[in-house]
């Protein structure tokens, strides 16, 4: 069955048929051969009947309002006032503000757009190499899915039935490590190339800028504080961040006029629908994978070949990086997780550890050619040619690969914080 259906799947994918259709049609053919399509329809609607899954549309709504709501400017101005003076100040500001925005928003593309729109022109004016400026933003933007909250972790958590709050915590240390590495590189590059330093900013300006950024800076505190401080559930966290984002966008930073509110909300639900429909198909697809028993067969094969967990992880990473070149990130996640998931437990791999590894791979996919959404987005909003953005991301890409190796083979990097704060799983 699977040998017959796999080529259809790949063919549809290559022909550019939407991912949800590719998965839906493949599943549909199998269900039809097995008897009836009714169970497929039932599966789709049943799987969506989950309060946890609601976090996805809520976080997408939040991301839309934050990206378009004028929140970015306030954060950038305040961080620039404090860090702008360093060598490569604006570059460091870019990484730091991306990390801060990432702590408010679950989407990488939204992070890259919100920060890039303001910071890239500023860097270009200050004489930064276009490739360097574009590279920083394309790379630091990917922190959006590694630093919590993160849509990627929510989707993985739903598919893998893993604790999403744990996954969020698992992304914190790798996210901070990643931001630190990026900052160090920016500092080094700016020093080496003799970039001019900015004028120091007087203290009263620093304070003023910080105060106007406070509402924005309080979002991570409210949202993540609420989640881990024992006030709200994950779904409520997502809903709350959507509501806070709306308040900021409509009333405080006024990036979205009030008359456009419902238009913006409808638009963001539509963006969420694009992901939700794939998730629904992926869950039905996962059902088929379970039923074929392919996981069991793969496992037996792996035992016969004496494949060790570390070899398995290496193999999975290679496949993910390869798929990451050509596919959009959520598609990778949604295609891969149902297939790989049943193997984790028998191999003794912690699903939290695996999830963090997967998300770092998704970050790489966002910045790897030929199809890298962040490359496109940055090139587009800044008019820097794609090849130059690409060249600029190379050093960051290599750093992320180092991080990936670290996270893959030193599980404690991702599992320590969740276990420390929430007790052993």
């Amino acid at each position: 069955m699977l040998t017959m259906i796999a080529p259809v799947f790949v063919l549809l994918l290559v022909l550019g048929v939407p991912i949800f259709l590719t998965m839906g049609i493949t599943s549909g053919v199998v269900f039809a051969i097995e008897g009836s399509l009714t169970p497929l329809a039932q599966k789709i609607i049943d799987e969506l009947n989950s309060p946890t899954l609601l976090a996805v549309p809520y976080f997408v709504i939040a991301a839309t309002f934050m990206e378009r709501g004028g929140v970015a400017k306030a954060i950038i101005e305040s961080v620039t006032a404090w860090l702008g003076r360093l060598p490569g100040g604006l570059g460091i500001v870019s990484v730091v503000t991306c990390a801060i925005f990432a702590a408010m928003c679950g989407s990488s593309v939204a992070t890259a757009i919100a920060m890039g729109t303001i910071l890239i022109p500023a860097m270009l004016r200050a004489g930064y190499k276009p490739s360097f400026a574009g590279g920083i933003l394309a790379s630091a933007g990917t922190l959006g899915i590694l630093i919590p909250p993160s849509l990627a972790f929510v989707v993985y958590g739903v598919l893998a039935d893993a604790s999403i709050p744990r996954l969020f915590l698992g992304g914190v240390i790798p996210g901070l490590l990643s931001a630190t590495m990026m900052c160090s590189y920016v500092y080094y590059f700016a020093k080496k190339n003799g970039y001019a330093q900015r004028e120091p900013v007087p203290m009263d300006v620093k304070v003023k800028k910080t105060i106007s950024a406070l509402p924005a800076l309080s979002v991570p505190v409210i949202v993540l504080g609420g989640l881990y401080g024992g006030v709200v559930t994950l779904t409520e966290t997502a809903a709350l961040s959507a509501v806070v984002a709306m308040i900021l966008a409509l009333f405080i930073y006024r990036g979205i006029p009030i008359r456009d509110f419902f238009k913006a909300l409808t638009y963001s639900v539509r963006s969420a629908a694009a992901i939700m429909i794939i998730i629904a198909m992926a869950l039905a697809f996962g059902h088929l994978i379970t039923e074929t028993g392919i996981a069991q067969k793969t496992l037996e094969l792996m035992e016969a070949w004496e494949i060790k967990p570390w070899q398995f992880l290496l193999f999975v990473n290679i496949i993910l990086i390869f798929l990451g070149m050509f596919l959009e990130v959520f598609s990778i996640l949604l295609i891969m997780v149902p297939i790989v998931l049943p193997l984790l437990d028998p191999l003794g791999i912690d699903p939290i550890h695996f999830g963090v590894m997967l998300v770092i791979n998704m970050e790489l996919a966002l910045m790897s050619p030929p199809v890298g959404l962040n490359l496109f987005v940055i090139s587009n909003i800044s008019n820097i040619p794609l090849t130059q953005v690409l060249r600029g991301t190379v050093p960051f890409f290599l750093m992320m690969v180092v991080l990936l190796i670290l996270v893959t083979y030193v599980p404690i990097v991702s599992t320590w914080l969740p276990n420390f704060l929430m007790g052993p799983a």
């Binding site: 009836s36 169970p39 049943d46 309060p51 024992g230 006030v231 039923e291």
Partner: protein
């Protein structure tokens, strides 16, 4: 070889899964490789909630869902969750079930859900009320946010005793507990122990025996009808062996879990029989209304109540 897919939403170490494993083993003894049997644990294929629909649509041959899930499809399933069963010990429940009530429910399930019930139900154990950081008893019940595993009967009982019933997906329970999203939950000792809920802050048990949790075995009707008589007999036989063993096993598991947790520091509050009887009387004031609104069979409810009275339950 004919497909026999069995979906469970508990883990392979769970007492229900073990019972089903024995059933599979016994069935293989009797039918050889007539069936290609596949047990899918942990909700990999279907959650209990969705099992009845999967059975009727032919996506599954067998499931063993918890009784508290079944009032979604057959309102009479809620009979055993009604206030009259509150605080009734397991052997009395079995006594009453073995009378007309069991037969009635099985027939209802078979008709309404188009399934075949192969015999005895399996047991999970007595469901009690557990407190997280503060004890829950009749005095402190009011205003407590209590997680229940689904089931309108559970929801109504919590509501009447003054608590606030909330639904939290089971995998999120440990977090919700440590967060204070919930103050307590309805579950069994074994479920609490195997999910290590004490690590997430559970400290108190209130043994109010709010209902006796059981699992109802069911085959899809279309699967059942096409089996030859000897195979049917083999299935019934194998099920009986497995269910009998499983029931004993479930009780042992509950006792063992309780011991383990008490040793780990769980405080168990045991209400007096009078307190339970008082609470039951209090709960009985909503029973008729529940029977009405849920469209539960009035006659059967009445005979069941009589049977419970005859078995010595005070009202």
């Amino acid at each position: 070889q004919e497909k026999l897919r069995i979906a469970l939403d508990t883990n392979p170490v769970h007492v229900r899964n073990k019972g089903v494993d024995l059933f599979v083993e016994e069935l293989k003894k009797r039918t050889g490789d007539h069936f290609a049997i596949e047990v899918y644990p942990s909700g990999q294929l279907f959650r209990d909630r969705d099992v009845p629909r999967a059975l009727r649509q032919g996506a599954l041959e067998m499931g063993v869902p918890g009784i508290w899930q079944l009032d979604a499809s057959e309102p009479n399933a809620a009979l055993v969750t009604l206030p009259m069963f509150y605080g009734v010990p397991a052997d009395t429940v079995y006594n009453v079930m073995d009378g007309d009530l069991g037969t009635f429910l099985n027939r209802k399930f078979e008709e309404r859900m188009r399934v075949k019930i192969p015999g005895k139900w399996m047991a999970l154990g007595m469901q009690n009320t557990f407190g997280v950081s503060q004890p829950i008893d009749y005095q402190t019940y009011k205003g407590k946010k209590i997680r229940y595993p689904s089931g309108t009967g559970n929801a109504a009982r919590i509501d009447k005793l003054g608590g606030i019933g909330i639904l939290v997906p089971w995998p999120d329970v440990p977090l919700a507990m440590s967060q204070g999203v919930m103050d307590g939950l309805l579950t069994t000792f074994e479920s609490a122990s195997s999910s290590k809920l004490m690590d997430s802050g559970m400290q108190y048990a209130f043994e109010d025996q709010n209902m006796f949790n059981q699992y109802v075995p069911m085959f899809s009707d279309s699967f059942w009808r096409k089996q030859p008589e000897d195979i049917k007999a083999a299935i019934l036989d194998a099920w009986d062996v497995a269910a009998t063993w499983q029931r004993a096993q479930a009780f042992k598991a509950q006792d063992h879990a309780k011991d383990t947790m008490v040793k780990a520091g769980l405080t168990v509050i045991v209400p007096t029989p009078e307190q339970i009887a008082n609470a039951r009387r209090e709960l009985m004031t909503i029973q008729d209304q529940l029977i009405d609104s849920m469209k539960i069979d009035k006659e059967v409810a009445k005979t069941t109540l009589e049977a419970l009275k005859a078995a010595g339950v005070s009202f």
